[in-house]
């Protein structure tokens, strides 16, 4: 086992980890506002990739416009999900809300399979297919796009939460919803915001990932699961933790597949999850003793 090989595993794991990180961010956004684990998060990722692929292939749009449309449509889907299903049930228990998101994910996936059929759709890489060699390891240009998108999205999210009124209000709601409401923050509007942002982040993940993995109606389930795992790993509800969790998970998976066993790759990720839960239940960056 050479160092270059390990370096190769690390780099390719980082790419996968970038998408996990974005998905984890989506989970955390909704979780903070509602306490709900949004099982439709993976479907937002699927929609992002599918809509972009369709817009480019069928409508002949340029990539930037297709991506913009994909993010816009997915955001609307997120908003509709909130208004039509989550808000009417907002007084119900968390488990009921989770089941509603499960229903939504089944619904969206089913519609997608009717609209687009069961086959996967390729999407051209944003900037050519030529591989790039970094210290002996190969990485595609698209991988850099994924990492770049993760970084930029994380920065934008940070800016929103740090500097905008809406962001500050959302943080207030996450810390103490009752106190936030007393201060005149409308909780249900914050929930809408969180769904919209989560959908947009999910769509971005789907768009940058699609050229690497192709878009298909059923990619949401597994990606959602891995993203959720990343979110827990980093500390559910902690944005920065989710990003770190995603990257760690991606790298561990790649190292596990390359060095230990490619057969048990998926199990490795979740064994790590359980170990982390046992040793540090609040996640890598979660507050100690915090409620997940």
């Amino acid at each position: 086992m050479t160092a270059v090989q390990v370096w190769q595993f690390f780099l390719s794991g980082l790419t996968t980890g970038g998408t996990y990180a974005l998905i984890a961010l989506g989970f955390s956004l909704v979780y903070n506002a509602t306490g709900v684990i949004n099982f439709a998060q993976g479907e937002f990722v699927m929609l992002g990739g599918m809509i972009t692929a369709t817009a480019i292939a069928a409508w002949g749009l340029p990539l930037w416009l297709a991506a913009l449309i994909a993010v816009a449509i997915t955001t609307v889907v997120g908003l509709v999900l909130d208004r039509a299903a989550i808000r009417p049930a907002r007084h119900s228990s968390v488990v009921v809300l989770i089941i509603i998101t499960v229903g939504a994910s089944i619904f969206i996936r089913g519609l997608a399979s009717i609209i687009w059929g069961p086959n996967e759709r390729p999407l051209p890489a944003f900037s050519g297919e030529a591989p790039i060699v970094i210290f002996g390891a190969t990485i595609t240009a698209q991988s850099l796009w994924v990492l770049g998108a993760t970084l930029v999205t994380a920065l934008i999210m940070w800016a929103i939460f740090e500097y905008t009124i809406v962001g500050k209000a959302m943080r207030a709601c996450a810390i103490n919803p009752h106190a936030a409401q007393l201060c005149g923050i409308e909780l249900s509007r914050m929930v809408s915001w969180s769904f919209a942002l989560a959908a947009a982040v999910g769509a971005i993940a789907g768009i940058v990932l699609a050229p690497i993995t192709m878009a298909q109606y059923n990619v949401g389930t597994m990606l959602g699961l891995k993203g959720f795992c990343a979110a827990i790993l980093g500390g559910l509800g902690n944005g920065l933790g989710g990003i770190l969790g995603g990257l760690v998970l991606g790298v561990l998976e790649a190292l596990g597949a390359g060095l230990v066993s490619s057969q048990y790759k998926d199990a490795i990720a979740f064994i790590v999850l359980i170990i982390v839960l046992l040793i540090r239940p609040s996640g890598l960056l979660g507050r100690e003793g915090g409620d997940p």
Partner: protein, 421 residues
């Protein structure tokens, strides 16, 4: 509210249970035949056969993990129903293919099989698409005594022979034989395997390991992946750094395209050999430049137009491809071909022997020299799998097009041995 139901809700509980009973008992008199099956085609006007319809069940994984297989199979079955009825049916009786979806789930597969046999009274069943869904219904099929012609490839389906069960797809064993024939011709003695952890991939690996010693081939690297994987660089890096002279990849769906692409990105210098599981246009679309030069054994459908004119299958293959594309506006693929073969074998058996389940079974078992999409079928009492390695041709991808590899390398693959089972 968190307490158990109080006495006040007793009537409700009873009501719910009674409702179950009523619905269940009430169901049988309302046959569901009235409900049009999915993709229902309008009745054909001209040349309409009269008489009681012969009902054949079609069970396919049209949704769920194997929907890419189930969809073309269901489409093909519907297309054949229309075609057969337009040509006057079987002995003047129309054919009705009742299609059900297993959703890729074994219990659901058994449920719809029971529905088809006990409510719809079908005389034979074609499908399911996947080995798992097929294995789950075999015991029931044997006890219900209705012939099943499966579109799934696993050896366990027809080995050992089960009285009522047949299958049409080319076997993995034949595919491996063909690949090793090619390797021998090219002087490749060391290979690395990259196989899916699915039923298909594991069966492929088993056959690769079993047949390698006899073919004088050594497996120097073994990697696996799951169908939902998105990143294959770790496994491919290991293979690249091994001393393998070729990589043999065994899988279905998007993963093999991504593997071909990944191998290209990593700068593979050894040939990439795929299984017959990727023999469709989507593989080329998905792999992009990575598809160039990939070699695989495939059914003849893929390169029908390049076959010599004296090939017994050429006309049939071109006809099927044209019909399918005209009706569904999509290219026909090997999976649809499995359903074509299954339906037509059953239809021929009915024409030859009669439309009772036992007659159909005997008819299928005595089918010989039947030229289908997948190859020429020869069934017998101890071979319920009817093809041999000659059903495959070796193809490669050049400039994004399927290209038949020269006949010389393709031929000596089949000469080594010809398993009959």
């Amino acid at each position: 509210m968190r307490t158990l139901m109080s006495h006040k809700t007793l009537p409700l509980a009873l009501l719910a249970l009674m409702a179950v009973a009523v619905i269940l008992v009430g169901c049988p008199p309302q046959p569901t035949e009235d409900v049009p099956p999915m993709d229902a085609t309008p009745p054909v006007e001209d040349n309409t056969p009269t008489g009681e319809a012969i009902k054949i069940g079609g069970i396919f994984d049209t949704s769920g993990a194997a929907s890419a297989l189930g969809e073309p199979e269901a489409n093909t079955a519907m297309m054949l129903q229309e075609k057969i009825n337009a040509e006057g049916g079987i002995d003047g009786r129309p054919v009705e293919i009742v299609i059900r979806d297993t959703k890729g789930d074994e219990v659901e597969g058994l449920t719809v099989t029971k529905e088809l046999i006990e409510k719809e009274n079908v005389v034979a069943i074609v499908g399911p698409s996947r080995s798992g869904t097929t294995m789950a219904i075999i015991d029931y099929i044997e006890s219900a005594e209705v012939p099943l012609v499966s579109c799934a490839a696993a050896r366990a389906i027809t080995d050992p022979v089960k009285k009522w069960v047949f299958n049409t797809p080319q076997s993995d064993e034949d595919a491996v034989t063909k690949i090793f024939g090619y390797c021998n011709a090219q002087g490749i003695t060391k290979i690395a395997t990259m196989t899916a952890s699915s039923g298909f991939g594991i069966e492929g690996l088993k056959q690769l390991e079993k047949l390698a010693p006899a073919a004088g081939i050594e497996i120097v690297g073994k990697e696996e992946f799951t169908d939902s994987d998105k990143d294959f660089a770790p496994q491919l890096t290991n293979i690249k750094n091994s001393d393998a002279q070729a990589m043999v990849c065994w899988g279905i769906g998007p993963a093999p395209s991504l593997i071909a692409k990944g191998a290209h990105d990593l700068g593979f210098e050894i040939p990439v050999i795929m299984s017959h599981g990727v023999a469709n246009q989507r593989f080329i679309d998905g792999a992009g430049e990575g598809a160039e030069g990939v070699i695989l054994p495939a059914g003849k459908l893929l390169v029908a137009d390049q076959l010599p004119d004296d090939d017994p299958h050429k006309e049939l293959l071109l006809q099927y491809a044209a019909d399918y594309e005209a009706k569904y506006d999509k290219a026909a693929d090997t999976f649809g071909g499995h359903a074509w073969d299954a339906v037509m074998i059953v239809v021929k058996a009915i024409e030859a022997n009669g439309a009772e389940p036992a007659q159909i079974r005997d008819g299928v078992e005595s089918t010989t020299d039947f030229a289908g999409i997948g190859g020429t079928f020869n069934f017998s009492a101890d071979a319920h799998y009817g093809l041999n390695p000659e059903a495959f041709v070796m193809v490669t991808i050049q400039n994004g097009e399927w290209t038949l590899l020269d006949a010389a390398s393709a031929d000596d693959a089949a000469t080594d041995e010809e398993p009959t089972g």
